[in-house]
Symmetry: C2
Subunit: 458 residues, 2 copies
């Protein structure tokens, strides 16, 4: 603690005038690693505004909590940005029961996918057809599928080092599978959870909702439940599955993005955005996804303030609402920027879990990518080696509709993320303070360097 | 699973003949990421041979368990290597109670350091002198220290990105502090746990034991307890601390290193060692430290066998006994190698926790370092970017007494390690299967490449 205060008193007000950029970056990392602020704020968010799915009272609590945090940080402005969000409700706890004449009956853990319609109060009982992918539905055909429950059971491919690739290779079953099964007349769809874990927790996530009304109940079962159902099906193809869920959609409601900013000293009209999404799913506190990203974004402002780094450009921390369901927060932020003719210089999002940062994924021109890659040597002492072309973040991605700007995603160690993603296990105790704080530091350092060096073309 | 079997059937027997080295490395990582064997073996080790401090029945169970695992792996030989190990016992649960006329009495969590002597049945009650480092004892002087409890309270410096540097900067208090305090006539020493965590668990570890008999009770308190004691001391410098522990040393006993090997096809007399240490502390199952390193080492042999990689040189997995207290296993292994005039080509140890691998720390000549660094491009696709000169592993380090060989330590993401190191929280649930398996793969790939390419000078 003594050292921490010393750093502040030594650097305050002069940090980016008299010091080398390496020294500033070093003090950013040192400050972050010594701080408990963002981590403790995340703890409170998880405890008091957990399960903050868009449209919920918990989401409103999260809006107010993060607004209060930033209100007490001596920022230049803190404000809300209003939009309409979907209001999907899970209803009563879901039930899934395998009914087998050979093995007996067995309840398995299940969770409705986001936007799923319900089964009705009485539930549905039907035979089950297991498939490994969407293309199998065409081969099986409507006649066989009519009235059945389609069971999408392709696991993620663990061979991938990067678990986002493993996830991407299986998530089509969750997002597109149920709507496609409806086309073939299925009564419902159950999906093997898209996860790297081998446990008995089901993982939710949004599924495609068709405005034409041709929707069927869509639910996820755990890897353990999926293996059991598959095994029983092989020995008893005639088994049936009873499903009951009462999920439903209520009229849309009003919610908010929460924004705090430090005004730029030279180019206040040029905006740098750092953000995460404030909503989570309704089955966990959303510690990694994405409470941590929100608290890291606020922490970037805290670091700048504590170290006396006055950015040339306006730096905004944005807590985006409703990433998980319809991305109305990201859309609203970009649309407002376009409408007001704002100038946007750079944006970065943290939405891959508060794990050790490994790099930045850049959505931009070749020149913008090269400019950011030229900063690589600043990050190597902190274990950050990977700056590459790729997607940035869902919420900030809408800015590209209006701006030819560079966007970045904070890339973190991906090994653990899909163990907890969208499951009840995405809890605060799974977050390590230092790993999370390194993410704050990585984003603060990148923003400082890009702002200070003026190297990004618009 | 289908994919996994496909890989095996395709590659078996021909893997390192017809495939590029990149393909072999890729199949090593793919095999490891798809396997649950080492992870499940670690679970059983933690459940059935936890708290396996050297000399304990649990350590004997761990010897037998790992011997049986390797006996069932179709290796060319599995054997034990006998040595004498210390047999230090913690005795009854320790007690520490702050006695303050101002604040009242308060029990705090405490744990005896390894090799600590006891306080006697009645315990010790004495005043407390807090110091920030060993050099303060000289300034305070024997007269003031005589009969007092010295409280070493310098925390780790969280500013370091690498937590091993943070640990190294504070661990002198634990290892050398109590013996030095004894020189100044202290009655006992309590040490702030050398950890990056801010929790109420004390972390143990070995302290210097002097054969001349001038030893005092030496115990660690948690960071929370240390902060409380320090705060109370400031307001009530006359407070006393009651300490009771009954730790003691029994006569040395016999124990074993456990060794399994695949005989080399071309140079069977040249040995490649891969190891971890089988003993743990007696307050946790030692999942990360170092049950995981042992299971990863065995997993290297499993990967070679499953993929049909027949090494030119003999590859040995070695479970070293007694790393934590007197390193008798590592000493014995090196001494036996020297006595038998064995040829040793390379050794690698995993003893930094089963976290995502980040690199290799090389103890060897400049030429040996350069040779290993020349392989860096094979590892970058797997997030392994750091090959540098540094310490390898405690157990294998004794080989350098006899051989001018290259040694390596598997370097893992260090952020979480000292949260759980030597504490009751070093449990199986803190291990992630994929992170652990990547460590197996990294070591297997490095051994395969060094063996296949013959690039290490002796």
């Amino acid at each position: 603690m003594r050292k921490f205060l010393l750093v502040i008193s030594f650097f305050a007000g002069t940090l980016w005038a008299g010091n080398t950029q390496e020294e500033v970056v070093s003090s950013i990392f040192s400050n972050a690693l010594n701080s408990h602020v963002a981590y403790e704020n995340l703890r409170v968010l998880c405890e008091t505004a957990g399960e903050r799915i868009s449209g919920s009272p918990a989401a409103a609590a999260a809006v107010e909590f993060t607004r209060q945090i930033m209100d007490n940080m001596n920022l230049d402005s803190v404000y809300l940005q209003e939009m309409t969000v979907p209001n999907w409700k899970r209803g009563e706890p879901e039930t899934a029961r395998i009914l087998s004449s050979r093995f007996g009956n067995r309840d398995i853990n299940i969770i409705a996918l986001g936007l799923s319609v319900g089964t009705g109060e009485q539930g549905i009982t039907a035979g089950v057809i297991e498939v490994g992918g969407l293309d199998e539905l065409e081969k099986i055909g409507s006649e066989a599928i009519e009235g059945k429950i389609i069971f999408f059971n392709r696991p993620v491919d663990q061979s991938h080092y990067n678990t986002f690739e493993a996830y991407s290779g299986a998530v089509d079953q969750r997002f597109r599978g149920p709507a496609l099964a409806a086309d073939y007349g299925a009564a419902a769809a159950v999906v093997r959870s898209v996860t790297t874990a081998n446990h008995d927790h089901p993982h939710t996530g949004v599924t495609r909702f068709r405005e034409d009304g041709r929707n069927i109940p869509a639910l996820a079962i755990s890897p353990v439940g999926a293996d059991l159902l598959s095994k029983w099906l092989k020995a008893d193809p005639g088994l049936k599955l009873f499903l009951r869920n009462t999920s439903h959609r209520l009229p849309d409601v009003t919610s908010f993005n929460v924004i705090g900013e430090i005004r730029g000293s030279e180019y206040p009209d040029q905006i740098i955005t750092v953000g995460g999404h404030l909503d989570s799913w309704d089955n966990s506190p959303g510690a990694h996804d994405d409470g941590a990203g929100c608290m890291q974004s606020i922490d970037v402002l805290r670091i700048f303030n504590e170290l006396g780094i006055r950015p040339k450009r306006t730096v905004r921390a944005v807590m985006f609402m409703d990433e998980e369901i319809s991305q109305s927060g990201g859309r609203k932020y970009a649309a407002e920027a376009g409408r007001k003719n704002e100038q946007h210089y750079f944006a970065i999002e943290s939405d891959r879990g508060a794990f050790t940062p490994r790099g930045f994924s850049i959505d931009g021109s070749d020149e913008q990518l090269a400019a950011i890659q030229s900063l690589g040597h600043f990050f190597e002492p902190y274990g950050i080696h990977e700056i590459f072309s790729g997607g940035s973040g869902v919420d900030i991605s809408f800015l590209r509709t209006y701006y030819d700007m560079a966007l970045a995603g904070l890339v973190t160690d991906s090994q653990r993320y899909f163990d907890i993603h969208h499951a009840a296990t995405d809890t605060f105790d799974q977050v390590n303070r230092r790993e999370m704080q390194l993410g704050s530091a990585a984003m603060a350092a990148l923003i400082y360097l890009l702002d200070h060096l003026d190297i990004l073309e618009q």
